[in-house]
Amino acid sequence: MAQAGSEHAADDVLRASFDVGYTYQRLVGPVIGEFLTGLRDGKMQGIKGSNGKVICPPTEYDPVTAEECSEFVALPSTGTVKTWNWVNQPRPNHLLKKPFAWALVQIDGADTSLLHMVDAGSEAAMKTGMKVKVRWAAERKGFITDIECFEPA
């Protein structure tokens, strides 16, 4: 869609805004498909990596050994905040519209962390090591936003 926005030649420069937009159709393959299917059904899963590690979110290949991963592990919907930040003014593209935290959440039973949002209400409520739980989206379709966000447990 090429919408050339308002042209104005204020100073000596010709400016115009335009959008570059497309809805990408991503085929996800077996591993990501399995994880997203689980989310759709309200289930959290990890995958067995090398050296007994459990990786969540499940990746197709172990980040250290490059070995292919395939064995899924059921996990609870709770976890621990390993690090976090506080977004005072959400950007237009951010999915939560009032101040929130991004966090790396280590789901109980996993050895790696998942990047997602935490709706904690205020920065003061955020602390490294705090327990959080998934707030499942009302309608789920097999997409990472089936986890609407995390909230303090």
Partner: protein, 351 residues
């Protein structure tokens, strides 16, 4: 290993919005400037390599249009990486090592004011699990800063000192975007942008371009009595998911620094491509640099950060200071990806 020197360097002024200049007009400025510094025409240049990112301007072939700036008639030996131009320099350095070239012109450009940079950089992230949540580059850096603060590796005062130093150093270099004298108290009094980062802990959005010319010793000796030779250069990448990386260390910088031989001698100066204040401390530690190394005398990326060419500029900043005799040995560093996922380190020595 053929000795390769950096014999010319040019950078456009670092500005928030270069207005009427398009990519070609930015690149022409620096390409013609470095050619002029050594009196080269295309016949004297065996290879051209550049770094840029199509998404900065929202057009599929930004680097193709920029080719007009090279006067590539008759045709030239040319290549391009969709990475910071420091990796284009690495490709040119390898070309010279093969013997296929003795000289090379390397350039990079980024007119970052055109797009919404923190969102454009979101497209670097895992397209299935992460990008759809739209975490911007500042939010990701804030996560790393918090991890370092929690681990007691840095304090908010440390971050403010990096900014203070950058603004002060930037006064000595013409064309820097953000400069001035600030106290730690003033800086710490600023509100948080994305906690724990304040606005000044983050890189400004900058339009600009930079270029260098590489040459073997035989050629370099015609131009400077004392040249800046690349005695070691290496680059490494880490795992992509932030959740499976050790964010309080920079493993790839350490390996690259060891392979480039940083520790083999005193490091007088270092130009580190650390766009967020806390990253200067992390990279300094990973390279094992002491307090006797002057870091980012140019002001560094906090004083002006040309996306896709800030890393290349560091090579020029270190080389020129060595040529002028202000230093004997220096380190140039470049980074790519979220939270320093990929890092390139080079050692330059005056001979």
């Amino acid at each position: 290993m053929r000795e390769v020197a950096i014999i010319a360097y040019a950078q456009t002024p670092l500005v928030r919005d270069c207005g009427a200049k398009n990519d070609v007009e930015l690149v022409m400025e620096v390409v013609n400037a470095v050619k002029h510094q050594v009196g080269f025409t295309n016949q004297d240049l065996d290879f051209f390599c550049s770094g840029s990112c199509d998404y900065l301007g929202g057009s599929a072939f930004a680097f193709v249009n920029a080719l007009d700036a090279l006067g590539a008639v008759p045709p030239i030996n040319e290549s391009h990486v969709e990475m910071d131009a420091a990796w284009a320099l690495y490709e040119a350095w390898l070309k010279i090592q093969t013997g296929h070239a003795n000289t090379a012109l390397v350039y990079g450009f980024g007119k970052c004011s055109q797009g919404d940079l923190p969102d454009v950089l979101t497209l670097q992230l895992d397209p299935y699990y992460t990008q759809p949540l739209w975490p911007d580059s500042i939010s990701l850096a804030a996560l790393q800063a918090r991890a370092l603060l929690d681990a007691g590796k840095i304090t908010e005062e440390d971050m403010a000192r990096v900014v203070q130093k950058s603004r002060r150093n930037a006064k000595s270099k013409p064309g820097t975007q953000l400069k001035g004298d600030y106290t730690i108290e003033q800086l710490l009094a600023e509100p948080k942008l994305v906690s724990p980062l304040r606005k000044h802990d983050c890189p400004p959005v900058t339009d600009g371009a930079s270029a260098v010319i590489l040459a073997t010793r035989e050629v370099a000796e015609k131009f400077h009595k004392r040249n800046a030779y690349i005695t070691g250069i290496d680059h490494r990448i880490e795992a992509h998911q932030l959740g499976s990386r050790n964010l309080i260390d920079s493993m790839s910088t350490r390996i690259a620094g060891e392979a480039a031989g940083v520790a083999k001698g005193k490091v007088d100066i270092a130009e580190l491509h650390t766009p967020f204040s806390y990253q200067e401390l992390l990279v300094k530690q990973a390279l094992g640099l002491g307090d006797d190394t002057v870091i980012n005398a140019s002001g560094g990326p906090l004083a002006g950060n040309i996306m896709m060419s800030a890393g290349l500029s560091n090579f020029g900043e270190v080389a020129m200071r060595i040529i002028k005799g202000e230093a004997n040995r220096g380190v140039a560093h470049a980074t790519s990806g979220p939270c320093l996922q990929q890092n390139l380190v080079a050692v330059l020595e005056g001979k």
